[in-house]
Symmetry: C2
Subunit: 276 residues, 2 copies
């Protein structure tokens, strides 16, 4: 009985699920590597030693999570670099379009940009069998969950003290989110294994309650409205050129994913007092 | 017998040794926090995913070592920020004078600048009773000791392939080392508890063999020659104005420390093929 409980039948993956797991682990590890650099470099220029130490502590945790994801590959004989290679350079144009002009903008970019990316990974992990997705989900636990470490809390306090900063960060957050959602859309258009995970998660959406960070009802904007809402500089170019490449269920799934990501982004901005 | 071996008399610290331990732990933690940021931010712009992952792995280790140093304070009821606060801003002018112009220069700055700083911490830890200094020394183990992670190895390979890069890095390394030695000198002039540790280490130099990274004989340049040799922009200004503030033994100890740091720096540059 015990053996059955610890090694249930559905952990034996078929070749498609195995490939999807490696794809998601590689994508998530690459996202986590980017977030690590983005958080860690903000030990520099931090407003004080306490903030610097907080950034370091969070970055170290993210680094450890990323290494756990690389282990998913290593356990299957896949080298870390081979695991992440399909995603190399993925954030280059995102980075080029979101060059920060202050420490706070850089930190908010980490919270918003990688918040969206991490939510995407969490959502896609729902498309894997429970026990298998667990390895990826464990590596996606919010690294700043403890109340005294929370970056959103630090931003909320700073924004409340300084309305000019709050207003600039509010606009900046919209811009970063627009770029992040565009990038998420592009990823789901080009990485078919990830799109398949999105479809499975979409089919299961009634059965498994969503828990990205909250249980509020889901926004019902269409994908196109979502991208327009966010005022991204070039949201529709790629959206239009890609239309029709996926079947209806695929588009439904992708639209659903983007709506969820946008809803979670809005909640996050509200928690920081930047929803304006 | 066993009890004696595991809790020898000299682990019970007097108030001076206790203060010196906290001072060194705080200084070392601050140095490690700086090195963390410097290494971690170079996950960005790395020449390939493998180099980025290597930077991240090393940075995470350094972060863990830094947290172990903060624990030395926490075990004595000292908050991390309070422990490091005396050293806040210590590297600001060093940073301003060594703004890198390429990824390789940034990485060499980490190797050379924090190499000197870490060697200084290792040397000062010799001034503490063995068992007590061990906590600090353990946090100073080279984070890239494994052969396949070694940053010096990566730089050596790049320098061998590209003589123009090698020649630029060789000059850059001298400049960073000059600034680092000047800063080390200033620290030993202003932080008297650290200067005391240097004097103890100096007195013990015949009894305990040095093991910064090698067992080669020690260079016998004078401090002034050492600083001049390195061609630092402003090495003698502070050296001259500070003369006479320490007694003879103090100056002997500081000169010895700087000579050791310089000798280890030279060995490090040689290992990278940048000694020219």
């Amino acid at each position: 009985m015990d053996d059955e409980r610890f090694a249930p039948d559905d952990v034996v993956l078929g070749p498609d699920e195995e490939a999807a797991l490696l794809e998601l682990a590689g994508f998530t590890a690459y996202v986590r590597l980017g977030l690590f650099g983005l958080i860690a470099k903000h030990t520099y220029g931090a407003p004080g030693l306490r903030a610097a130490q907080r950034m370091q502590t969070i970055a170290v945790r993210i680094g450890q999570q990323q290494q756990a994801l690389l282990n998913v590959g290593a356990e299957r004989g896949v080298d870390p670099v081979a695991l992440m290679r399909p995603f190399g350079g993925l954030f280059d144009s995102f980075e080029a379009r979101t060059a920060e002009s202050s420490w706070w903008e850089g930190v908010l970019k980490a919270v918003v940009g990688h918040g969206v990316a991490s939510d995407l990974c969490r959502l896609l992990a729902r498309g894997l069998p429970d026990e298998v997705g667990a390895a990826v989900r464990a590596a996606l636990v919010h690294a700043d969950r403890d109340k005294d470490l929370r970056i959103t809390q630090m931003i909320a306090v700073a924004a409340e003290r300084d309305p000019v900063l709050a207003s600039r960060l509010s606009l900046w957050g919209r811009r970063v989110a627009g770029e992040s959602l565009t990038l998420s859309w592009e990823i789901l258009q080009t990485r078919l294994l990830l799109a398949d995970l999105a479809e499975t998660a979409y089919r299961l959406r009634e059965e498994i309650p969503l828990d990205l960070d909250s249980d509020e009802p889901v926004s019902r904007h269409s994908t196109r409205e979502t991208l327009q809402d966010l005022g991204s500089a070039t949201p529709l170019r790629s959206a239009q050129s890609g239309m029709g490449e996926k079947d209806d269920e695929g588009m439904g799934a992708i639209a659903w994913v983007l709506d969820e990501l946008k809803a979670e982004h809005s909640r996050r901005m509200e928690r920081m007092g930047l929803a304006g």
